[in-house]
Amino acid sequence: MKAVTEREGSVQPATRKKKKKGFWATFKEQKILYGMSLPFIIVVFIFSYLPIWGWLMAFQSYRPGRSVFEQKWVGFDHFVALFTDEKFYLVLRNTLAMSFMGLIVGFTIPILFAVLLNELRGSVFKRTVQTISYLPHFVSWVVVAGIVTKMLSVDGGAVNQLLLWLGIIDQPIQFMAQGSWFWYIVTGSDLWKEMGWNAIIYLAAISGIDQEQFEAAKVDGASRIRQIWHITIPSIAPTIAILLIMSIGHLISIGFEKQFLLGNPLVVDYSQVLDLYALNYGLGMGRFSFGTAIGMFNSIVSIILLLIANGVFKKFTKQSIM
């Protein structure tokens, strides 16, 4: 900031008016900066802000080919239809169930993984594990869904083979055909794909811990587990807190990729989530207004969750992540 005021001072002679330079004068002076940024800002406006305007559709009976002013207004009809649709509560249950399972497993296991990885002594082994653990992150959900379906298949899937060999089951489990397995399959696939990747941030936090603390603890005869509990975990607690708030903000917007790719008609009562519901009803059946109402509900709940999480965070740490 200091540099700026000095610079402005030198450009503006003292004899000029005390007032700051006008908007257009500065605009002209910074035209190159505007030229470098405005085109992209316009793209953002078109593709991120204009669709918000489309929310009006949720209060209209949308017919293609008419402008937004020519549509018939129907008030909250679509929301009433949504909240009285029994299917909606099933979909909401699925969304919340998979969100919470994903949050609990997808949040805690990477921390554990990072802590344990840090305890490995051999650096070659450590690096190998780490590199391999990133691998699934770079693979698309299409491929992961294919792999998961293959591993869980009834004829020759690795998981069923292993369970049979261990004698835990005497005939293969139809994982992909039973709704009761679906939430676990989605949560497990997500963990398999992202565990190593999500651990990166914690590893970085752990590597910042002062090594002398560990040395001192060792001299005092603290076991490895006690060192983890009393030094490692408390040191990365702030990082954990921030990432927890961020995941809560994204709780309900879990997307639909996994559910779309792993689901099938047999498990639809467990696989249908809000976005998929909007996709099927809105685009599949041409009920654009109804689909928009679903999307709107989703966005509003997300924002409320984020605000609550941020508020709680602010209260405890006097910091804001927004």
């Binding site: 900066l33 691998l135 491929v143 294919g146 790719l261």
Partner: protein, 302 residues
Amino acid sequence: MARTKAAFKPSLSDRVFDIVNYTFMTLVMIVTLYPFLNVLAISLNDSVDTVRGGITIWPRQFTFENYVQIFQYEGLLTGAKITVLRTLAGTLLGLLSGTMLGYVLSRVDFQGRKFMSTFLALTMYFSGGMIPVFILIRDLNMMNTFLVYIIPGMVSAFNVFVIRSFIDGLPYSLQESAKLDGANDFTIYYRIILPLCKPVLATIALFLAVGQWNSWFDTYLYNGSAPHLTTLQFELMKVLQSTQGQQSGMMTGQNMAEIVKQVSPESIKMAITIVVTVPILIVYPFLQRYFVKGMTLGAVKS
């Protein structure tokens, strides 16, 4: 005495801990790698023989026939071409928008700074939703065009902020002395900022390229009826989903999935999976040190 001894000689509980830990990590490696090795082995196995089952990580009847087969499908060849094109174009555009906005927003004297930062940051917390975006794309006549792959997602607020915080960390004196030499803002960006940003750009480029390479939903939603704009992931999705008997509504009479199904399901499917996956897997270990840094920087600042 006892204390120093304890420091050098691991106690029993520590040894148990180590054994458990090493076993756990070995299991993690097996669980992560086995599926890929299994897919690779099946893709290299004779397709008729595969039906007998029991392939683990080594092909029983080794052959390249499956790969020869899949490269005769029109869809896969077009898909490969379009995927490479969108990855290149999308990554370049993403880097251009990210660095330009990142630079401009790092300039404290820029008067649009505050407005633009907020304008961008807000997009990280809300979105119009799938259907309004779909209708917008349709109204803009971007359905069945290549542009739909690279334009709507061109600017990523997250990437802009990662790059901006990197530029904030560079010494400001470099820019000042360039300015005294008469360089304009674009020259400073192009000659000074860009070369210094290489490490962060490697990370962002990797994220962008992986995102482009792996996306299939935009093809499904906007270009599903344009075979000349198909992508690898979309083709693989169709093939994999066909056997599960779902999405039957979108299957056309003689699409690739049908043909593949007739020839041989398993080995062919796995060969396509390998073709779609391998390019990314070859690149990522080399960029590892960059993305670890990038991830940390991004998370701390946002």
